[in-house]
Amino acid sequence: MVDNMQIKQLEEISKGLRRDVVEMVYRTGDGHPGASFSVADIITALYFHIMKIDPTRPDWEDRDRFVLSKGHSCPILYAALARKGYFAPEHLMTLRYLHSILQGHPYAPKTPGLDSTAGSLGNGVAIGLGMALAARIQKKDYQVFVATGDGELGEGLIWEAAMAASHLKAGNLTVYVDNNNYQSGGTVDEVSGPYPIAEKWAAFGWHCQEIDGHDLGQIIKATAIAREVTDKPSVIVARTVKGNGVSFMVGDNTWHKRVYNEAEYKQALRELGGVL
């Protein structure tokens, strides 16, 4: 499925995507780096190993789909799309600027490779469900992947979609919960109380797994298991760390949305294996 050499390569890619995000946030002066880093390894595994995609044909009907329901993490997704070849990496440094192809939150019509508009929380599971049901109607075998946050689980629409997806046996739908334990206002414990997460999805009829969301091998293995489950949708609750990869961002929720100063920028790049 995946050997150690591939894992090492994926780890390097993931670090590279994080470096792109550091550059984007530092140079453009905006963006959400903390939540980008918690979902970074999931996005790396999807775009560089798991998903059936073709960057030369972003609208290929048979491609796998990905919906970043926690749309504010889009800098890491934009980096992945650029490094995958959907568009030139130079665009990354136009993030959130007027006339950029990279909107503040994902807007599919402007950005090659984006499968869905996102940013208003709570909508991605339902949109992914629509894509998954479209595959059934059109007799296609593509998979649909969605990444949500854990604070995002407070949105009622998540659970509307969860109930319908299991009732409709959407086996080609897999949701990753980026369980970084933080939301904008603090820890999810303090603010909204989503725990126990896996048990909630299980009660809605989903196949559940819990993994280390920064272990690329575990992400790939769990996704393969989810794919084998065809009579119900799958959720992978990924324990992650907000700011993962940069020491001073971990445990400091101001990095939910914050711009690096020059010293922080240099240290972040160094820690991520960058060359200054």
């Binding site: 019509p109 909508n123 339902a126 629509g130 479209a134 595959a135 109607i137 009732h167």
Partner: protein, 316 residues
Amino acid sequence: MSIVYDNTRIGFRDGMMELAAERDDIVLVSTDSLKVVKGEPFQERWPDRVIELGIAEQNGVAVCAGLASSGLIPYLCTYAGFLTMRACEQMRTFVGYPQLKARFIGANGGIYGGNREGVTHQFIEDLGILRTIPGYTILCPADGGQVKAAMKASVDIAGPVYIRIGSGREEKVFPDGTPFELGKIRILKSYGNDVALFCNGFILNRVLKAAAELEALGVHATVVEVATLKPLDVEGISAVLASCGCAVTIEDHNVIGALGSAVAEVIAEGAPAVLARLGLQDIYAESGYADELLDAYGMSVGEIVRTAQKTVGKKR
């Protein structure tokens, strides 16, 4: 003369049947609303093209976004307010903004549509809400045959479409087979240019009766159907206003936001005319029989006649 009805819900169902027979990208999405629109024949014939999501309208609209982004044309029909109010953000951000080909059919439009159910099921804001959201085509047909024709006329529009329907007791206005005039006003009666009566939806029958009564009183009216509320036929409306110099809008909707506002905007921006707006005067109605409600809330034939006469009197 007995009234002939032309149920707009059946019109929707028949439109779905005809479209699905012709093309394989049509999907019926239900939020436990299949029986509301008598959709059983569709389900029997195309069970694989029905998606039942239960009572969850936000999910319904967002699922439509996923379906539409995958090349299908989903039609979601449920109560107008549960779409445009409860799922307003999904309609705006995930369908309107990316300009997806999803179609939303809002039932129980107006107090006529909601009638005895009361305010929770009487929707007098749907058209106004959607008119403020960029990229929607908004259609307000007059009877069941026109609903079907509107669906067929709008099926290939690149962005989203909203079609308002009622609850099933709509009076037949147009002969069978009358096409829907997408994007254009339609002049239904030209008695003269004393006053223009702008109208849409299933109170068109009342406006036609009022125009005939006005004619008997010596007031020569032009009856204009504005079934496409957006994009608005500004040119057509301006020409009628220039000719008549005064107008009454009649709509089963709050007078703020939809037809009355749209005509007022045209008048203010370049087609000066005297205007009166009939409809819900920024108030909630109450339960009651449909025709009694319209009479009670200022949309009786008599009120249309009186308002037209008064408006003509204000012309210089």
